[in-house]
Symmetry: C2
Subunit: 124 residues, 2 copies
């Protein structure tokens, strides 16, 4: 079986709540995480919730990074999904956890787009 | 253990490749999937790749929906992440698979943001 993508799902605990609640800083961290991992940024969308919390996504040529923060619990749900061989999703994930000053992270990698190799392309 | 969110990761196979390559239609399907499931749409970002493929995200109050399509393989990677009790991520996921005319889907649900109940909030 060959996979098209790698998807890291990270539970990031005991982060700095002030960073988690700062939409501009969260956006900067996610974009820089993508660039540090060697990804190409295509689209960015972030949203600040009231009274607290930030959700955001960076669409990269290689798939996406997303974050949802719960500052009141010091917690962020982080996803880094990459396709191709060039970008390692763990590089971006570890960068994000470091910048959130996380004391604890539970993360797992899931293979996405499983096909019997070789994959047959469709003419459409 | 109590979880803040539910995340459905879906491998959607044998879809209509022409739909998978139509960025406007993919965006419409994802937004409608969010609304059909009762979610509140906050931000939308989609990108069409050359020569083919679409990536996109809908940020909802309850977290996010993402899609990455490989029309040449008839495949889409779909994620629906919801928090709270009100929105069922499977409703959105099944809506998307149906609209992509998928013949086969492998999907799994992962709990996100696991805490010992009751969760202690931080004053910050």
């Amino acid at each position: 079986m060959k996979n098209l993508g790698r998807h890291v799902l990270a539970e990031v605990y005991d982060c700095d709540p002030n960073i988690l609640n700062d939409a501009e800083e969260i956006e900067e961290i996610l974009v820089k995480a993508a660039l540090e991992a060697g990804a190409e940024v295509r689209e960015v969308a972030f949203h600040k919730f009231s009274p607290q919390g930030v959700s955001g996504v960076v669409i990269i040529s290689e798939s996406h990074l997303t974050i949802h923060t719960w500052p009141e619990f010091g917690y962020a749900a982080v996803d880094v999904f990459t396709c191709g061989e060039r970008v390692n999703p763990w590089d971006a994930c570890n960068y994000i956890a470091d910048k959130l000053c996380a004391k604890h992270m539970d993360a797992t990698e899931i293979k996405r787009g499983l096909f019997d190799a070789p994959v047959k392309a469709i003419n459409f």
